[in-house]
């Protein structure tokens, strides 16, 4: 899949076009796929890209609002909204461990009697 073949460039590059295909993220980052991919892969790249933002610890000044994918002579623009980003980050947000909190508070009850 796409994620195995890309390079991440640091933010501040608006757009660079590679020979066959490039994926650019407005103002904040740039993805370049050096191998050719199918049109369908380009269209479904969104999840891979979002996932990479997370796993690579890429620091974002601003979450991109769109990703532009250029495949040969065709350009695909993928809109990203807040829900997309929330989905990415919520995936590994750890839920609050209430049981552990209760156990902890029970252990110190006597200090407050």
């Amino acid at each position: 899949m796409l994620s195995a073949k890309h390079k991440i460039f640091q933010p501040s590059i608006n757009k660079i076009t590679e020979e066959d295909l490039s994926i650019s993220v407005n103002n904040t980052g740039f993805y370049s796929y050096l191998d050719t991919v199918t049109e369908e892969e380009a269209k479904t790249a969104k999840n891979d890209i979002l996932s990479d933002f997370k796993t690579k610890n890429l620091y974002l000044l601003e979450e991109p609002s769109n990703i532009e994918i250029n495949h040969k002579n065709t350009s695909y623009k993928i809109e990203l909204n807040k829900a997309d980003w929330d989905k990415v980050f919520e995936a590994d947000n750890k839920p609050i461990n209430y049981e552990s909190i209760r156990k902890f508070k029970n252990s110190i009850k006597h200090f407050y009697d």
């Binding site: 750890k94 461990n97 552990s100 110190i108």
Partner: protein, 167 residues
């Protein structure tokens, strides 16, 4: 009810002895000076006038680039390369209090202070740095709501702190 208070010159720290020499040295030589100079704030538990336990808090900026493991998502989302937080730099109790949950008590007090601080200024949570990699790490590892970022850094997000206060 035990109530930790600000460290004062008149408090006796000479007899304080925990398992970690650095923490013994800090309370005897540096804690009060740093407190007076507003470098850190140290809260002590007293038995008569003797310090028997203490913890020290500072405001800190944790640099994300120094974190080697995966950064917790709520920190990454903060859009800052430095994360404002309260740091629990020192936490110790006298050896004689071993097994009485003083560590948990002091941590809870630090959490309460952090919660108050979060209402005044923007901070992401309480960070903890174990001074001794075996004793302190063992202590922190037992507390399941602590997020272990790496061997030298633990983290309690404000959301968890709020849950602790309200639970």
């Amino acid at each position: 009810m035990i109530n930790p208070v600000y460290i004062e010159k008149r408090h006796n720290r000479d007899n304080f002895c925990c398992e970690e020499p650095v923490l013994n040295e800090f309370i005897k030589l540096y804690a009060r000076q740093n407190h007076s100079n507003n470098i850190s704030k140290t809260y002590v538990v007293l038995n008569d006038n003797d310090v028997i336990a203490y913890y020290t808090l500072v405001y800190e900026n944790i640099e994300l680039k120094n974190i080697r493991n995966e950064i917790p998502s709520d920190l990454r989302q903060s859009r800052k390369d430095k994360i404002p937080c309260v740091l629990l730099g020192m936490i110790a109790r006298d050896k004689s209090l071993k097994g009485q949950d003083y560590g948990n008590f002091l941590l809870n007090e630090a959490i309460k202070k952090t919660y108050k601080a979060s209402l005044i200024a923007g901070i992401k949570g309480l960070f903890l740095t174990p001074i001794n990699s075996t004793v302190a790490t063992k202590f922190y590892d037992k507390i399941e709501f602590l997020q272990k970022i790496d061997e030298k850094l633990y983290y309690i997000p404000i959301a968890t702190i709020e849950a602790l206060i309200k639970e």
